[in-house]
Symmetry: C3
Subunit: 150 residues, 3 copies
């Protein structure tokens, strides 16, 4: 694995880090604004998404989309705003072109007519592949700190 740090003159690693920041800027906003199709488009067809908030993984883009649609429908029905505040990104590249991005997300939620609150915190480890020039998520592992590990 190589990193921006181990390649201070490696503009490719540098570009990749910024590309992933930009990716999340769009990706998180798509989820937060309930644009589910835009959000789902960031996963490969065969992507796997795991979280300790669910017993089993979501396998494949269709299953991932169905889960996101249910969540978005609930937010819209309740008039709740939820924002993924992404920080503390770390990016590593494998020689085969796979990219692992680790991020922190504070989920800030505002009920209709209420105050904004930290609803939960999670870590996210995404494995990216590049298809047709675009970075896509092939594997996602989310860990909510307020829930048991498994």
């Amino acid at each position: 694995m190589t990193t921006v740090e181990s390649l201070p003159n490696g503009m490719e690693s540098l570009a990749l880090y910024v590309e992933i920041l930009q990716f999340y800027g769009r990706h998180m906003r798509a989820m937060d604004e309930c644009r589910v199709a835009d959000w789902t488009h960031d996963f490969t067809e065969d992507a796997v998404s795991r979280t300790n908030a669910r017993p089993g993984p979501h396998v494949g883009r269709a299953e991932i989309e169905a889960g996101a649609e249910a969540a978005a429908r609930k937010l819209l029905a309740d008039g709740v705003l939820r924002r993924h505040c992404l920080s503390t990104l770390h990016v590593e590249e494998a020689p085969d072109g796979t990219v692992v991005a680790r991020s922190y997300a504070q989920l800030v939620t505002t009920p209709k007519g209420g105050a904004s609150e930290l609803e939960l915190f999670c870590t996210c480890v995404d494995t990216f592949v590049r298809e047709g020039g675009r970075l896509l998520i092939k594997h996602r592992q989310v860990h909510r700190d307020d829930l048991p590990k498994d």
Copy 2:
């Protein structure tokens, strides 16, 4: 509109994204440290600033400065520390050189002798122009999630 993602080899887009991160690192700190002149200097003379926390816009740098000065004076008088934690940035460039930056801000506030708390969350959409090499805000739209849209 082009983005860093659609131009993976486009070092200009890359540089712009980092320049805007650096811009906000300075800009938000200026506000948080009540250096109002430094902060106001980041707007064009004819800038317009809108927020759903006020009925009408602030039009022109002088009006924007007056609003910021009142806010800073109140913070200093009360001994309150307020920090803009910026995250989840997304940047788009228009062919005419205009740049639209979308960001999330958690405002963390600490009263004198008290604990730090999430006071509010807002989204910010800034439109930048370049004057004499510097990026300046020409239009700002802030939306507090705990207040109605209009």
Copy 3:
């Protein structure tokens, strides 16, 4: 002092900013995951670390490590998860190669079986030097907003 902004074509400043984001992505995660040796390795042998949460500075890597080990041991014993959410970074370079990085950190803490909460907010000013190609912290000044200045 020069900044990314004053050098819009300066890819070196740009690279440095991203390198420091990546540095903190690894550094903060090392602390949060109680990998104290990895974290301590980011300081120079003669580093000085000051915070308004302690009367005196920690001087030298060994003293810094001892402090971090005590903190990590306590987190592990209590089953508490603590995350440093870093944002709003600003980076300046001096002509002598010294780099000053200013950051905001929200510490989000989750007790065993409990909800995640904002425990505290602090600002951090790190002065970096480069040794053997790696950026190392030579001086750290942390300020917790909920504690008096001195």
